[in-house]
């Protein structure tokens, strides 16, 4: 047999073997997918870049070993307080185990929660929170688009890490996110329908940026906005709602319960501080106010989630009851007495026995804020009243007139209740006249040395009809 024929035969044999191996591979893959055998998953990795596709196929069973070594290195470095390799290590670890949901969650959590708090500078912290969000949003969901836990985790980062106030730097996060979103969406309410329609160049540019950079689909944003809004998309709660909503639509697992919880908790936070009063500056913190107009939608969200939840409905109801109490207080403090009264009646009707039948909405608001006034010490009562009057001054300076009226009213009611409870000991335990306390607080806030900044002090003077300050 000549060499050429021999080589041709070898090529044919090699081709035949490849075809045969392909068939065997299919059968093997089917067997691996059989849940009864309990073998490794074979779901093909979708949207994977070439490096990842190559890694997952070429390393085969050794992937686990390498991932273990990387985990060990990551935890060693973390123990030594060296974080500069963490993003790289997390990238490698997740790429070695792209279908293992817990790996993504642990790595993202580690960056957003554990590593971020190791830094004292808020800008450093924010960078790590962003890294955690990016890992889930840009990578994990790309390879695991139907995993409820990933949506839950991402939504939780927005709702809890950024939206809640447990992190010392939460105001920095909120401001940084609001500034970033303002750059994309503009300072005013976004016309999401226009973004979806994409009829102008500007709308197409914004929609494209949302899709490419933030993985936000304007059509889904519109759906969420219609269901729970109008939402302030510059605040993290709106994004928590977006990812929870998407998770509820796409995932089929039992873990939807966590997503439902994120929905109502985010709506509660929207009511509590879902309105930007001022974005502030690097020196002055961002200022938020409650958005009591969302109480109706938030209540609907609670009721919807309670209706959908089958297992832990009691905890959902407890959260609903607390929300209604907060709503009544917020309406009362924001000078909406009739609405506060209506929601108070609703609270009593929904959860009879939780509130004494004879309690008025005024008493409920005071109790919500300070507890039992009759048991209060003199110093504490004075401090609370002064604090509320301080808030009243600040609200006036910021143009939040309804809130100012509410805080003033609450201060007066507490003063009245305290004085009434100390009728017999007024001389020893009584407070100064309400007007005296109020004027003292106003003077403190107008003091050029220790009070408000000049522009805010000028606005307070104007709101109180006081003469402008004399130049020194």
């Amino acid at each position: 047999m000549s060499g050429r024929v021999y080589k041709g035969l070898l090529v044919l044999v090699a081709g035949g073997l490849l075809v045969a191996a392909g068939h065997v591979q299919e059968a093997l893959n089917r067997q691996r997918a059989d849940p009864q055998l309990g073998l490794t998953r074979v779901a093909p990795l979708e949207n994977a870049p070439p490096v990842l596709a190559f890694t997952t196929v070429a390393l085969g069973g050794f992937r686990g070993l390498i991932a273990n070594a990387l985990w060990l290195r990551a935890s060693d470095l973390q123990e030594q307080g060296k974080y500069f390799e963490m993003v790289q290590l997390a990238d490698w670890i997740t790429k070695l185990q792209p279908h293992f949901v817990q790996v993504w969650i642990v790595q993202a959590w580690n960056m957003a929660y554990n590593i971020s708090v190791k830094f004292s500078d808020p800008a450093d912290r924010w960078r790590w929170v962003q890294k955690g969000i990016e890992l889930l949003r840009d990578q994990a969901l790309r390879y695991n688009p139907n995993e409820a836990l990933l949506y839950r985790e991402l939504a939780w980062f927005f709702q809890h890490k950024m939206g809640y106030n447990l992190d010392d730097a939460h105001l920095f996060y909120k401001r940084a996110w609001a500034v970033e979103m303002t750059e994309v969406l503009g300072p005013y309410r976004t016309n999401l329908a226009a973004l979806v329609a994409g009829q102008t160049e500007e709308a197409r540019r914004i929609a494209n940026q949302l899709r490419q950079r933030y993985k936000l689909d304007p059509a889904v944003m519109l759906e969420v906005d219609q269901a729970y809004g109008p939402l302030e998309w510059r605040l993290p709660e709106a994004h928590a709602l977006y990812w929870a909503w998407l998770g509820l639509q796409r995932s089929t697992s039992k873990d939807k319960r966590f997503l439902r919880r994120v929905v109502y908790q985010s709506m509660k936070q929207c009511v509590e501080h879902g309105r930007i009063i001022t974005l502030g500056t690097n020196a002055v913190p961002v200022e938020f106010g409650p958005d009591v107009d969302k109480i109706e939608k938030a209540n609907l969200a609670f009721e919807q989630m309670i209706a959908e939840e089958k297992e832990t409905v009691d905890s959902f109801k407890r959260a609903h009851r607390n929300f209604l109490g907060t709503a009544v207080y917020l309406l009362w403090i924001n000078n909406r007495p009739s609405q506060a009264e209506a929601w108070f009646r609703y609270l009593k009707q929904q959860y009879p026995g939780e509130v004494p039948a004879e309690m008025t909405v005024d008493e409920f608001a005071i109790q919500t804020y300070v507890g039992d006034v009759s048991e209060m010490r003199q110093d504490r009562a004075r401090a609370i009243i002064e604090g509320l009057l301080g808030r009243y001054c600040l609200d006036l300076a910021l143009g939040e007139e309804d809130a100012a009226v509410g805080h003033h009213l609450l201060a007066r009611r507490i003063w009245e209740s305290y004085q009434a409870a100390r009728q017999r000991q007024k001389g020893r335990l009584g407070l100064a006249p309400f007007e005296t306390i109020r004027d003292n607080v106003i003077q403190r806030y107008l003091d050029p040395q220790t009070g408000l900044r000049p522009e805010l002090a000028a606005r307070l003077r104007a709101a109180l009809n006081l003469a402008p300050a004399q130049p020194r």
Binding site: G81, F84, V87, Q88, K118, F119
Partner: protein, 462 residues
């Protein structure tokens, strides 16, 4: 002597020539330079210039050390074993050249090759770092100059004499109330825990103070910023995970005072700059911490506080770091040559590679020595499950660890990436321990066997 040097030079030159003839030098150089250039494009950093520089330094130097290390081991095995196998060494051996000169000449040739490759790739890393640093905004350049591209030394407060304190308290206690000998060990342990807590503890609202003597350094630390590196543990975690405290450096009425309230996380290192010139005329630097939290904080005796100061520039520090890597290469070359002195090329490469794996597994050995058993500790009882194997293996591992630590105790990559100073003394020690002692042992072993080996006897008949 002159003759010997000439012979060494000739053998070394032949090794170089072989490296060039087989294009090995160029292949390695291209590989190293490509990795130096390509790594920055592949790496994911934490988003800061400091983080990027640190990861670049770490990964680039690690890749260089790994590539060069493996190539050195391979070459060292090949250059001797192959020469023996293809009989070309017989041509040299019949000349009036002692065997030890052949062996040492090859080692020197390899080391010269390593020096050239390390120098070129190291210069590329250095150039790349500076090129990137120059393109950064001025404030980030300052951070880099102060914290990474610098050689900083550290001063620690004197370690309290815990043992003496425990001994004193123990004796006082025994004098007051006699304790049976069987309970004395437990009593001592309890007293030690109490004394340690007393030193480490900063209760709520209390002040903890450290004093550091700068000595003659006070003269060149004038107007130089200092950095505090601190770490503490919290007795109880709080919701935010951070703990407020007032940090004060300096002595009121005697020196300038710097103070700042900081909210820092527990269980990790924090580094912050303090103003210059806060020490007194005698070079006494006093650092105080007031715990503003409700929970007690613990400052570990070993690593609670360090004062970092600029000792020198990055360039020379970097060169010294490369010097230590070069010392490691020297050991690997000696190991490879020693193995090739009596083994064929594949076996020598396999053996020296395995030895390298053992060296890299020192963490496992350290755990075995610490736990006192190979089989691990019963996690429920906390007691080691002893066996006959332990009686042999634990002492063996202990000795092995001591030997390995002679080479492994130096960490130039880590020091360079965190801006820590590598002193000339450290480089000298690395040379002494790694090259002279460990490399010398390998050389002694290799040369002895190689000198007695019958070179013509091993070749197979064609």
């Amino acid at each position: 002597m002159r003759m010997c040097l000439q012979q060494l030079w000739a053998i070394g030159f032949l090794t170089w020539k072989a490296a060039f003839r087989f294009r090995l030098f160029w292949a390695l150089l291209i590989l190293l330079l490509v990795s130096v250039v390509a790594l920055p494009l592949l790496l994911k950093d934490d988003g800061t210039a400091r983080g990027f520089t640190q990861i670049l330094l770490t990964y680039n130097l690690s890749v260089i050390a790994t590539l060069l290390g493996l190539a050195t081991l391979w070459l060292a095995c090949g250059t001797l074993a192959r020469d023996i196998e293809d009989c070309s060494l017989q041509v040299v051996a019949v000349k009036p050249v002692p065997r030890w000169v052949i062996w040492l000449g090859k080692w020197l040739g390899l080391m010269a090759l390593n020096a050239a490759l390390l120098g070129l790739s190291g210069s590329s890393v250095y150039g790349l770092l500076h090129w990137r640093a120059r393109r950064l905004p001025p404030e980030q350049q300052t951070v880099l100059r102060n914290e990474v591209l610098v050689a900083r030394a550290a001063l620690k407060p004197p370690r309290p004499n815990l043992e003496a304190l425990v001994e004193q308290r123990f004796r006082e206690r025994l004098e007051k109330t006699p304790v049976p000998p069987s309970e004395q060990a437990e009593l001592r342990r309890q007293i030690e825990a109490l004394c340690k807590a007393g030193i480490e503890l900063a209760p709520s609202g209390y002040v903890k103070r450290w004093e550091i003597q700068l000595g003659p350094r006070r003269f060149f630390l004038r107007d130089e910023p200092l950095f505090l590196r601190v770490k503490f543990h919290a007795a109880q975690t709080n919701l935010t995970g951070t703990y407020k405290g007032l940090w004060q450096v300096g002595l009121p009425d005697q020196t300038r005072v710097w103070q700042q309230i900081k909210s820092l996380a527990a269980d990790t290192y924090h580094e912050f700059a303090v103003a210059p010139n806060l020490f007194d005329a005698d070079g006494r630097l006093v650092i105080s911490f007031v715990n503003l939290e409700d929970v007690p904080l613990l400052f570990p005796i070993e690593d609670a506080l360090e004062v970092l100061y600029r000792e020198g520039g990055f360039g020379l520090n970097f060169a010294r770091g490369l010097g230590i890597i070069w010392c490691w290469m020297g050991l690997l070359a000696a190991m490879g040559l020693a193995a090739a002195s009596f083994l064929s090329f594949p076996v020598a490469a396999f053996c020296s590679g395995s030895l390298l794996v053992v060296v890299l597994s020192s963490g496992t050995m350290a755990r075995v020595v610490e736990e006192g058993t190979v089989r691990g500790v019963d996690h429920e009882t906390g007691v080691a499950v002893g066996s006959l194997v332990d009686k042999v293996m634990v002492p063996v591992f202990r000795v092995l660890l001591k030997v390995i630590n002679l080479a492994q105790q130096f960490s130039p990559v880590d020091a360079l990436s965190t801006g820590r100073s590598i002193t000339w003394g450290e480089l000298g020690r690395a040379f002494g321990q790694v090259v002279v002692l460990l490399g010398g042992l390998c050389a002694l072993f290799g040369i002895t066997i190689f000198s007695r080996r019958e070179l013509a006897g091993v070749q197979a008949t064609p």
